[in-house]
């Protein structure tokens, strides 16, 4: 939520710019600016601006492709298509790595160092940890703990990335599962409460019977 709040204004700014810019070169520059911005991790709103379709089929089409990659892709996608895409600045490389970490965190709670080093093209643990600390955790896009013994990063929270349409079904399914599990749990709790009440009543009844019997026995003894 914090991330969304922080980037809402930035998204708004770029969307407004994208809507009014005329020249293709200016739109390409805007894309470069957006993909380099240190506090922006969401690009689907900008992608949705109809004006950007101007870039299709032009010499700047690769910039539009780059924007799509930043919205939905990762470092490995850039590597496999680098010949068709513009060269990245240092800021863009950092951003893409951050987005890659977010994407990996979508799939797993525990991210092995080896996997991270491979995906992020980092050669040593110190460099990886410095990146995760300074550019991910301190940037507020992930929260977690680094475990050197197990050589992994345990993610507690990760900001959401832009969604591809095909991801929606998974999300709905997960939410339905949550709903189902929560309902079942509530029913189970309800049943347990009823059972506890019933046992308590039976206990009281049994106690009363015993007390009456004791009283009767006392009377007959007298």
């Amino acid at each position: 939520m914090d991330i969304e709040r922080k980037q809402a204004e930035i998204v708004d700014h770029f969307v407004k710019q994208a809507a009014v810019l005329d020249a293709e070169a200016s739109l390409a520059n805007l894309i470069a600016e957006a993909t380099s911005h240190p506090s922006l991790f969401a690009f689907s709103e900008i992608l949705s601006v109809p004006n950007l379709t101007k870039l299709e089929g032009t010499q700047f089409a690769s910039h539009l492709e780059l924007l799509r990659l930043f919205a939905y892709g990762a470092c490995s996608d850039y590597k496999s298509n680098s010949d068709r895409l513009p060269a990245l600045s240092a800021d863009q490389v950092r951003k893409l790595k951050q987005l890659t970490v977010l994407m990996l965190a979508e799939g797993n709670k525990v991210l092995p160092y080896d996997q991270l080093m491979q995906e992020l093209d980092v050669s040593n643990v110190r460099e990886l940890e410095d990146f995760l600390i300074n550019d991910c955790m301190y940037a507020g896009i992930v929260r977690g703990k680094l475990d050197q013994l197990r050589r992994c990063f345990e993610v507690q929270f990760a900001a959401g990335r832009d969604l591809r349409p095909e991801q929606l079904n998974n999300m709905i399914q997960t939410l339905e599962n949550w709903l189902g599990t929560s309902d079942n749990l509530l029913h189970t709790i309800q049943d347990k409460i009823k059972w506890a009440d019933a046992m308590s009543e039976e206990n009281k009844k049994h106690r009363k019977e015993i007390e009456e019997k004791v009283e009767d026995a006392k009377q007959s003894f007298k």
């Binding site: 643990v125 013994l149 929270f157």
Partner: protein, 302 residues
Amino acid sequence: EEQVLIIREKLAELYESEQQWSKAAQMLSGIDLDSGIRMLDETYKLSKCVQIARLYLEDDDAVNAEAFINKASFLVSNSHHEVLNLQYKVCYARILDLKRKFLEAALRYYDISQIEKRQIGDEEIDEEALEQALSAAVTCTILAAAGPQRSRVLATLYKDERCSKLKIYPILQKVYLERILRKPEIDAFAEELKAHQKALLPDNFTVLDRAMIEHNLLSASKLYTNISFEELGALLGIAPQKAEKIASRMIYEDRMRGSIDQVEAVIHFEDDTEELQQWDQQIVGLCQALNDILDSMTSKGV
């Protein structure tokens, strides 16, 4: 005695005019304030003690200054002289600072920075002086030993709006958020420090070094479940054995929670809360996030 007193005061004035602070202080300290022959007024005694302490402090002589401030402590509680009381407070804070009792000094500087009156007796209190006191409070807090007590003072300072206007605010923010400080930031902070705040300690670290290493170690404990001595040393910029030693001292002094496995050469950091409590907190966080989403949806008319 009356005549000796007058002579001593005059000589002290002369020494002061020549900026020979310690000599002026020595001259005044020869006045017998506890004389059985003459009855000296309590305010006069207090003013002399404070004056002598201030003179010694001009030469950074905390030892002698403290002796006289301690004498003043007995007199200040009954004093209604606002100017003297303020001077006493400032002296006391500076002595604590010089003696490297940074947390106590910070609290006193902070107290001074919160003075509301702009005129006390004949003395005008300008905003710059209050800002200096606040800045001194922040500096001392950052230099204080990392741990729960310092965290509380940091929180107070961070939440004080006035601090956001200080030049030193960026580092205060990082220290409060328990973030690792890097060399350029530490060097920039070092430029604002006084000589005694950068003094060399017996273990060959400076006062600043030690404060920064301990802070970074505590920051690392928030980021790592465990870390090898070697990596910790690399992170802190010191030898692994020194990193282990500092960590063990902090754990022993209860300023950091953890354990050391010397066989594996690893430090295990422990959270203040148990695993199940952390789990609870995660679920609370999830519920809050869910609430935020529902609020967003409502505000957007979904």
